[in-house]
Amino acid sequence: MGTRHRVQLTVNGERRSGDTAGRTSLADFLRDTLGLTGTHLGCEHGVCGACTVLLDGSPVRSCILLAAQADGHDVRTIEGVSPPGGPLSPVQEAFCETHAMQCGFCTSGMVLASEALLATTPHPDDAEIDEALGGNICRCTGYVQIREAVRVAAARTADDERVVVRD
């Protein structure tokens, strides 16, 4: 209800726009208006992290951000982490390799939070991993394989960098 807004933003590299009520969350806008259902809703009150997306590269909770607040910003959702049908990102690859999920409901948020961590901290120690993922609740896995995935992805990235250095 209330006011309606025209929202324009970049989602996964594409310019997208839509009309939305002032109270519509970014999560609902992504899911219902843009059809990007990979963003999941677990609590809708900012605690579980299932709805995590990257806003200008930083993880945010799209359930407590209004779509209108994202106007003009760059949003990356799970659908944009790797090209459709293309190779997975190193983080996605590592999540598969270590089976860092069960039901998959928290996974979108976990992958994006991990991507954001490794983008700023390519060699996180265990405490940094726990800190970066501490706001993403997983009820299935007990986090052990998720931590492994982040370590595996970080090691891969580190290897790639060494290759680059030698070049």
């Binding site: 089976h99 999920m101 069960q102 039901c103 409901f105 609740i137 986090y143």
Partner: protein, 800 residues
Amino acid sequence: MTERAALRWVSRPGAVREDRRFVTGHGRYVADITPPGTLHVGLVTSPHAHARITGIDAEAALALDGVVAVLTGEELAKETDPLRQYLDLPDVHWRPLAVDVARYAGEWVAAVVATSRAVAEDGAELVSVDYDPLPVVLDPEAALRPGAPTVHTGHGTNVLAHREFSWGDVAGDVARADGTTQVRVRWNRNSTVPIETFGVVADWDEHRQLLDVWASIQMPQFPDQLASALRIPGNQVRVHFDVDVGGSYGVKRGIKHGVLAGYLARQLHAPVKLIEDRAENMHGGDFHGPDRIFDIALSYTADGVFTSIRIDVVDDEGAYPGRSPLQLAKPIGAIVGPYRVPSAVYHATAVTTNKTGQVAVRGFGQAPTNYAIESAVDAVARELGMDRFEIRRRNFVAPDEFPYRIPSGTEYDSGDYPAVLDKAVTLADLPALERRRDELRGAGKLAGIGVATCLEPGGGNAIFENIMNPANDKTTFPEACRLRVDGSGAVVAVVSISSAGQSHDTMVATLLGEELGRDPATVTVLRADSLSGMPSQSPVGSRMTIVLGEAIRAAATDLKDRLLRVGAHNLGVPVADVDYVDGDVVVRADSERRLRWGEIVAIAHRKQHLMPDGVEPGLEVVHVAHTPRSGGLTAPDGTVQLYPCFSFETHLVLASIDPDTGVVDLDRYYLAHDCGTVVNPEVVRGMVYGGTAHGIGVALYEQFAYDDAGQPLTQSFMDYLLPSTHEIPDIADDEHCTPSPFTTFGQKGAGEAGYMGAPAAVASAVNDALAASGVAPVMSLPMKPSDVWAAINRTTEGNS
């Protein structure tokens, strides 16, 4: 059982095929399904824990733009039947929307249907309901007392079920004991609280007379119960099982959600979607778990040998019992834990109170019972001044005693409990763990080591229904698999279940690949819906590898039998002279003479002139399998074979307590686990870690708390605390394998692993820490910082 050494895919590291769609955001959950024209449901809930509904005014809601309908409990009750219960309680009616009386805070009273969920929620706020508050009863023991307010007045008492069992020479075994230790432990109300709430979409096709249902369910007989409550034939309800379920661990039953959405879809001729919000999930969904008070008496000789156990349990079912009281019966199949105890008494009482209804939770009552048994074992060790490891070793069923019949009549299939305990001790490097404990103590912390050795019954059958209610004579709980080899030789396996993270596609492909000697990666696994599919009871009770494994074996055997007959006929030899080898049919005496997979497929699909008489064309088989060892009723003496397989786990945990705050930190966590033959190692260790983390939550953080008026104090994830990376340490697991003699490859259940022993182990660690400082143990879960702090300070005050 096939020799493990010969296995090519089972037990080998292998990719989990489900994972790729999840890491790319392409899972398909119920919230993602929105047929054109979908209407959304908002719920009006009772603000009172117990109140008579005297009036409902929906006018303002109906005036709101976008609101299509408002439905009250009275209207719904006229055209639907009450939801299924498993006890004979003719005056206890469980319905999607309260009729006349609301029996807990959060109970659904009316439903508002609108063109969007936001408008439906706005509408729900505009519905005004008049209530006359009634007296509430919250404490389950108070509910038992004469004169307590009754939750269901027509029923006359708050006791929903009371069963008494006595197995073996109890009097003799107690008399020959040198001591009996009694403990009272409290397992408070919690639940599995999946990150995805419950959701359902229902769509009625008037022309086909078919109700299509997509739901985040893990529930036996959901389609049948839906049809019967809606008073339509079973063949008019089509439940789709190709929906990813975002976690369940037992609770995603949602029958009342399904009936409500199904009814509305039929009335409104539009698809209707109901997705709970978090508060509804936590308080209105009837998804709470066991809430129990145990009184245990464990008798023992001076040498610490157990002679008899008595367990009295009171379980608070909340306002509506549904299937939950049956959770008192399942533990009968492991009532003495992994210990040799010759006799047992079990008194189980199910009580109703003004709280949210209870439902099945991971382990179906076993985890609380394990916690109770282990608490008593630790108490006996404290009493005797005996090492907690030693008392367990002394009482373990020995590896050469299997199959081992416990007093309640259930046979444990196999196990090597001492070896698994040894593995955990080695993995943890117990002396190093003790040094670490002492370091923590030196640094001013309270620190203690916890141990728990617990069983996970697997291969769920439904015989607990008969135990709790002899009128219910259900003795089979089947599972099925359909195999299809198409005209090109490609293999499809069809199952009719939905999955909530158990990686069943991977499991089915792996087991089938092994049976057929064909690469699992080439097998497609599909989910039939409830009308085109086969009988299934859903993945409850750690049963799929066991029961579905049996169906896969039998279907594969039927298929191979057909291939052999076609092959032998065309090779011109008797069937007895050929073997099936990885898809080909080979003459045993001359392996050069063979008919290849592709040739047999071509004959079976297209060449009747080459088919032997009596063999059906096409290669399509279906097999429906009983649960291993099911079929019998409970004997008149109360003995019964419950589940067929028994997995075992040993937990070792080091807890550190800040004496100033009572905050418990788990410093190290180890476990050794035996679920027989592992199908996929990555999946099994994930189950073990995940169940352990869930158990840590139960032990330290999670509780649905209420104030004295029955108002829930835990309304969101801000106050119901699910453990995060900050609370869960890295867990180390070592697997042991004692194959089951009753399953196809020796596999046992793993879906409830970790959760079976973690609550007991964490409690043991905290109490070990407290005991070392002369503090009395805390005998209630969760052990919140305030509880631990109070225990420490009670002692300090007492000493000063």
